[in-house]
Amino acid sequence: MKKLGILLVALTFALTACGSKDDSNTNDSTKTTGTEASTTKDTTSADSEKTTDTATASDKPVNLNFYFPVAVGGPITGLIDKLAADFNKENPNITVTPTYAGNYQDTMTKVVTAVQGGNSPDLAVLLSTELYSLLDMNALEELTPKFPQTYFDGFYEAFMGNTKSGDQVWSVPFQRSTIVLYYNKDMFKAAGLDPEKAPTTWEELRQDAAKLTLKDSKGAISQWGIEIPSTGYQYWMLQALSLQSGANIVSNDGTEVYFNKPEVKEALQFYSDLGRTDKVMPEGVLEWATVPSDFISGKTAMMFHTTGNLTKVKTDAKFDFGVAYLPANKSFGSPTGGGNLYVFKDIPDDHKAAALKFIEFLTQPERVAQWSIDTGYVGTTKAAYETDLLKNYVAQFPQAAIARDQMQYASSELSTHQNGQITKLFNDNIQAALLGTMTAEDALTKSQQQADDILKPFKK
């Protein structure tokens, strides 16, 4: 904690320094058009006035502050730096300064500190679920009028879900993921199952998992049928199971949750039964980061995990593995996850224009394709999958196409006002149910009650 404190102090200093530098830039190039500039600007030196009068918007140097997190393996910082450099080549007057800010949580902390200190960054990549927190701080620039409707239509509908509050768009999908089923084809063969046919329903999942759960001579289990992680993102996993049962757990304006619906109860019951009744999944809590290691080391034959780990599994697994849709109860279904691009409100207009330009640059089909190949994130636009780049990649590595095809069944992720608190209480209660200290019904009733209390002030 002490170290964290020092870091924060250092950061504050750094931010103040950056901020003042930005201000001076702003003075040199205040407004977008020459006429507007001459009317709004009054006290700057004659020198700079002359340049603003004669120059057009794109000629004025703009320096954008861009915060981003790193949440998956791979040389992300190098890739982002390269994107910024390429953008600068196309737009010599706009320099993007990418700032690596830690994981998602750290980045959010830094952005909020900066916004509250009046030194808001120009744009940032933050979790798509932070939307309502950022809106409640009045920190965001609305993007609905900034792009034509056709631009937004180019993205997969499920990814657009978390960019919107009602009909207003506040962010653009960037590094997005979803949950898929990974399975070990060698183990399927050994268990007498068809390695090309992953389970497609909950019942098949149960049966296959039972066949894949092996015991050693002493009766101890040496191989598990399936693992669904239950730390950090258990709400995400439960949301997937609920969607498969035919209900989402959140309204599209972030003011209501539906934790106590019968479909959600069915989902939680299934989640905990896999470990506690069917004995095909280890009992208790399964660490988010350990589950992929278990899969790679052969401790489990199947796992539910984010597509963000596709590249890691591809590199590390020494066996033939398959990727499939999450099995259906009533229908297929999976929530989306990951980060979006946000533009902040409290920045000069020419910075906003430049930030929008940068976003447009980042979402061009070729770049989305390359980003997806380099990182393992799902391509966010349909056009990206039409490029030769991604077509060739999918041909060589068909597992990469599963997430895209599953998009038609996907929905937006749990995101509400006071999102941190809602997620935490829901996570705690899910764990209690998985551990057997509470029944599924009690856990969900309690979650609903607690969430209703927290969300009360936001309901109109």
């Binding site: 170290k3 927190s133 409640d136 935490k424």
Partner: protein
Amino acid sequence: MIRMRQLLRGYSWKENMLAYMLLLPSLVFLAAFTIYPIIKVVDWSFYESAMGIKHYVGIKLYERVFHDDVFLKVLRNNLLLAIVTVPISVLLALYMAIWVNNKVRGTSLIRAAFFYPTLIPMIAIANIWLFIYTPDYGLLDKFLQLLGIDGPNWLGDPSWVLISMMGMLIWKEAGYFMIFYLAGLQSLPKEVYEAAEIDGVKPLRKFVSITFPLIMPTTLFVLVIATTNSFKLVDHIYIMTKGGPNNASNLLLFHIYETAFSFWDMGTASVLTVILLAILLVISILYYGILDKRIHY
């Protein structure tokens, strides 16, 4: 006589002035980074503030916190952690210190081995122990399998997770306290031991009647450090469990961090911070107020 007193007073005033001048730099930093934040946090604890809205609510937040299940659980965890780890690690530290204080072969190697855990950053330790505690193919389970024991899910089972954490923390802290004891032991007067030697006193009696009473000032210091430290541990939770499962390993400081930087609820976080400060203050007062009187310096 009166003149003399005046003279003295003037002299001491000047003397004090110099002392204050010398202390000034430290006082400035103390005021800016400790006293000012404390005042501010007490002030904030009376305001409901989240997401830019801020209004005065009096002690409502305190009432809410004391009725909050998570807070009570976290407090219970923290007290348990202190009650278990402090005596064990302090006794272990004293034992190790006496051991390495003797002139035996390889002392410096053993000293280094005992002190080593203190040198590693908490984050690295947490990552190492995360692997040790991994079910089935982790180091601890591999070792237990040799003995034919099937270990529990160390960090995933709510009844084991706090115990697992305690084991790790004792391992980390004991070496640190050992250094204080070692310094204390080496400053003890040799004469007393020589006298005891002449009287033919047995080693255990020597420890009970001489070493333990004489080392009490160090013990007091170590106890204060150990107990307050146990309320200031947070790094390992971030790496190992995030407070789970179902808050079974959550501690006060991590709860404050989450409330402030994940829920953005600065009001409640301030209340929790005030409570933490009060706990730390009470601990120091208790130790220094009660134990101090029974110690021979």
